[in-house]
Symmetry: C2
């Protein structure tokens, strides 16, 4: 058969024996390389999954917990105990899928929202049904549709109120859902069926929420409060590491403040700058969580928001410092006024290292939850260096004033350089999105003027 194939190929393409072998080799190579590519893709994907799991092993725990909770619900469904429920059991399944979240606080908040939303909508829905019943016939259907329109619009609008959005967004969604279901069903079923249905639905939802809460609380609980606490300590550590890097790489004995672009420590503030969204959601969820571990009743969760805001402001100043330092190229000019230079440099070393030490101490305070005592001394050391520096400069009034305007001018000229980047970026947006030609704009504005004339 191979020989037949050979003849076929050679007669078709006029390729000789050597060409056939080469084609075979090529095909084998292609198959090998395809297999290799596939292997690489699979290995790469597995590596990516492994990294996601290693980065936070609680992700694996959460996945298994969702599987466990759903299996528990389905086992309940199989048992004869719940045989009478029939179709409504699906509400327990839907509840588990929708309510199971990563942290205890999020699960608790969604579970409570689901129960509250269902209860409220059930009550309002039955009320609307009774009112509509008075009309009877076609009037009932029309009235129910009007009620549905009003309730759904009002509830949707209420989700734009910040307080509702923060804590009861899901409850409002469930309110709309349940109210719609009650109104739609109530048109066909008689009231007794409706109450039976409502009772079954609420019971199944309660069973679903109970299973979720059981799984979240008792199987490897993941607390939003702990994550938030860890985030605060981590932010303090990042800021400290930046200052330690400054102290050693920039003001160290054998180091100079140049060619620092690309250094890892100069990127550390970025994670702090981007921590706001995560922090906000963790605070919302932490407030729902009961006492656990080291967190007592009425733990001051809002305080983490204030601390986070201050850390981000500090990170912003670090960004300005980093972007200024990157542009420094001291080698361009010879050393002059070495005395003052060395003095300021020493001040900088004290400021950065002592501040870093203070931040490390603060992060330890947060991590161990042990009150701060030796911190104040350290900070005042850094503060003292800073105010000494200011005092010393202010002796030379002329120099001080020039330095102040020069700092403003230098920061402004940094902004000017950044705006060049913004301009380039906008230009490439204009090119990629094929914005109109400016000539057209001026023409069209001329047209407007002509019309006005």
């Amino acid at each position: 058969m191979e020989s037949a194939l050979r003849t076929d190929i050679s007669s078709n393409n006029g390729v000789g024996d050597g060409g056939f072998l080469a084609a075979c080799r090529e095909r084998r190579l292609w198959l090998c390389s395809a297999a290799e590519r596939l292997r690489c893709t699979v290995v790469g994907f597995a590596g990516k999954l492994g990294k996601i799991a290693r980065d936070d092993p609680r992700r694996v725990a959460h996945s298994l917990k969702v599987g466990l909770a759903l299996t528990l619900v389905s086992v309940l469904y199989y048992t004869p105990l719940f045989n009478g429920w029939g179709e409504t059991t699906i509400w327990a399944v839907i509840t588990v899928v929708m309510v199971m979240e990563f942290t205890v606080g999020a699960t608790l908040s969604k579970g409570l929202c689901r129960v509250l939303g269902t209860l409220a909508a059930g009550l309002v829905g039955v009320g609307a049904h009774l009112v509509a019943d008075l009309c009877g016939g076609k009037g009932e259907a029309i009235l129910l549709a009007v009620f549905l329109f009003i309730a759904a619009s009002a509830a949707t609008f209420s989700r734009f109120i910040p307080e509702v959005k923060e804590r009861y967004d899901y409850a409002m969604a469930i309110f709309i859902l349940t109210f719609s279901l009650v109104t739609v069903s109530s048109y066909r079923d008689d009231p007794e069926d409706l109450i039976e249905l409502a009772h079954e639905r609420i019971t199944t939802i309660l069973v679903g929420v109970a299973i979720c809460l059981f799984t979240t609380f008792f199987v490897f609980p993941i607390w939003a409060g702990e994550d938030l606490h860890e985030l605060a300590a981590g932010n303090l550590d990042s800021l400290a590491e930046f200052l330690e890097g400054m102290g050693s790489e920039c003001f160290g004995e054998n180091s100079s403040c140049e060619n620092l672009e690309g250094k890892a420590f100069l990127q550390l503030y970025k994670s702090v700058l981007n921590s706001k969204a995560k922090e906000d959601s963790l605070i919302t969820f932490a407030k729902w969580e009961p006492i656990h571990g080291k967190f007592r009743f009425r733990h001051p969760w809002n305080q983490y928001q204030k601390l986070g805001a201050l850390c981000r402001q500090c990170a912003s100043s670090m960004e300005a410092l980093a972007s200024f330092i990157i542009t420094l190229k001291k080698a361009q000019y010879p050393e002059a006024n070495p005395e003052l230079y060395l003095k300021i440099r020493a001040t900088c070393t004290v400021m950065s290292l002592d501040s870093a030490k203070a931040l490390r101490e603060l992060s330890l305070t947060v991590r161990t939850m042990t009150g701060p005592s030796p911190i104040n001394n350290d900070v005042s050391k850094g503060t003292k260096a800073s105010s000494d520096f200011r005092a010393e400069l202010s002796e030379d009034v002329a120099l001080l004033q020039v330095i102040h305007v020069a700092i403003v001018a230098s920061l402004l000229s940094d902004i000017v350089i950044q705006i060049e980047g913004i301009t380039e970026s906008t230009n490439s947006l204009a090119r990629l999105a094929r914005f109109k030609n400016p000539a057209e704009r001026s023409q069209s504005s001329n047209v407007v003027i002509n019309i006005e004339e």
Copy 2:
């Protein structure tokens, strides 16, 4: 009766006639003030709702659209056409409640995710059912539970993959939900019923998604792409306004860079700094949207992310500049070296006003989608001033070097001051959360040392 009450009160409390009148007056006052308080609360709440609506009238439109879509679904339910469907119609209602989002892109993405997730889970679920069917009896139930556990865990874990999380998070949730429902139902129903059920479910979900898409596309559509475009232009305007404020309030002829704390223009960069989360979600949704208005096929949505990142970096530098300027109190020292001072000041005026002009032009470019042409000249004016300033300074080598280290030291000493704020904030956290006494910590660490010894 009043007299009886009077006697009663006076006998009880021994309060005379005047006391009774005073009590009446007090009660009337209390009622009045309660009514007044209620009125104030209602008026305040109505005002708040009015403000939410006025801030973005599209919120009202969206609320009415949700009401409309749900009413449409319920009308479908009332019509004889869908009478045969019975219970499955609730899926159309659930779909509308869950899929209707504020923007077209978000609704489209959720609708597609819902359809995709349902289809995939339906196929996998029926396959799992066929495999489990081979075992029969108790084995089937156990196998189905095992399949459910594995599928739910795997799908939940996949939601941690960033690419999946960004675009297919909702599809994964729907996959888990549908797969659970199929497995749980398939234990009781025979296969033919199951396929009938799957068919009905998919049809109702398609009807629900169709109603959502009809309402979002044709009734007052709200485009994520337009919001994103507007956000980019607004960010450029905020940056420009900051620089215009600097130019007039700080370097203007009759103004001085002092006592600027609390000025509105110094807060403008904050909205830019906090725009990342909104921008990211708008970009995700804009990518789902079809061609509309001025946005063609393959509009470069990712470019907005780059532009946004540059704007936020610029805002960060502005924050550093603002926090430096607020601390300036020029009046503390007399003017010295007026020549250099005036020169730098003039440079600052040119830099800030020309950069502001360039930014305004860029924002106009984005808003009108008309290519940039006169921008480059303006920027180069600001850039020229900036490089002139640097060149002029570099002539005085000694001064330049001192200024450079002084800038670093000054930025660092800003950071030191911010760290004092962080320390205070951590201390109040420690106080409010009642952290342990430091003595306890040193005791416990001593214990560890003793054990190690």
